[in-house]
Symmetry: D2
Subunit: 143 residues, 4 copies
């Protein structure tokens, strides 16, 4: 359960991301946040790779999880938790920067369902999809 | 795509895990490996948390991904890649150590399907499930 | 959204199943129901097959969906709805009868997470796993 | 495992669908097929409903499974099998006709990953999303 109090504009969302020690460890940054979508990037630093020089699947899973949560936060409000997700890894994650783009597919009173696409961006700006995902996010009710 | 050349006994598997920079960054360790199952642990260090002091969902997703891959490696042989997974976060991940236990549910010529349970272990040794997952792993064919 | 008012003992649950026209069309029957688990069976009638003589994947998906819902109903109470599921088809579904067995993995105030195993049963009683699944079920709140 | 020999144009695909007894039982029809996508429809007949008058979740799961398979067949060739899928039910399936639209997200030598959207179509032609899904389809190799 990813218990996340998501704020409502990109500057506040960046402050929020900076309050997650694990996101700081990975160097994640929020590129955009609003209107049912979020974009999160992580540079492919050497310490984030697996044994063959690609970005580790766990970094992709982190980016999918967190980006889905922020996208949902744009519609569910500041306090949400991610209930689950599925991710398909479709190509080796080689390139300079991982970019995760998540969009709200459905949003209701009790949850939001979001889709997410993970791309690797090269030095020349070209992008290549390396994973796709889908997740469910709940509003955190205090009642 | 998590491209992983998994070796066939626990000592060799630990050498393999040590060749993944991201696993080293997280301090992951293989507790057991063999007979269609694997156990992987990650201590809840301060830099692996989210903003409320629980282990970050991305660390759970990493552990599910990697543990599923190693479990499959015990039956598919040394060269495998994880094709996808789904994970449900069921409780906040509070405790001292995350323990991921993965088992092969089905194994055929072209893939293995594995289930995985993530527990938080407390100082007194008590365990509490915080997430469950399921994934598909492919043998890496070089043909 | 599978909106299902699940009753609390096996006889009442069978009456409930009989109120679902699609379950009647498929000839589904509840074998057991209670204590966080449910077993549902469907005979492999000729009109439930695909083009190669195996039970159609859609029948397996139906059985997973419905069995997960009933298992959750044993702990969440009579009014639940299934939010989502993932299913992995691992072997061709050949045999006389499909048996779905679902168990509650986690149950809280706002949802239950269930796992499910689908087996084909032969005339001699032997069973073979053909699919595994996982799903999330919500209590239906009328507030 | 949904073992499906998918043909390569819409007429041949309809002949193929007609060879699946379960698809005939449900009255499924292929609306379009080609270029990495497929559209499949099922009318909300009384015998396909659940107890509250909505289309049964199992019918939605059937439509997702089969539509994903046909979409993948447009790129993988005539012999494929669906390995697994995840589906999120987001609204009660009320309306006249279920329409499933699946698209190939990624296609490689060893599998295709497809996304799928399920809508209920009303008498006035209006459409409302009731479920979204994602699945993996394998080419059937005879080697």
């Amino acid at each position: 359960m990813t218990d996340t109090a998501v704020p409502l504009d990109v500057e506040a969302a960046r402050v929020h991301l900076a309050s997650q020690p694990f996101s700081v460890l990975l160097g994640a940054r929020l590129v955009s946040f609003g209107d049912g979508a979020a974009v999160l990037e992580v540079d492919a630093r050497p310490d984030l790779l697996q044994q063959n020089g690609f970005l580790h699947g766990g970094v992709l899973a982190y980016a999918a999880d967190n980006c889905l949560t922020y996208a949902a936060g744009t519609v569910l409000g500041p306090a949400v938790l991610t209930g689950g997700m599925s991710v398909e890894y479709v190509r080796p994650a080689r390139g300079r920067t991982l970019r995760a783009t998540a969009r709200v597919t459905y949003s209701g009173r009790r949850r939001a369902v979001c889709a997410c696409e993970l791309e690797m961006i090269d030095d020349d700006g070209s992008a290549r999809v390396c994973a796709v995902g889908q997740g469910t996010v709940y509003p955190l009710t205090t009642s």
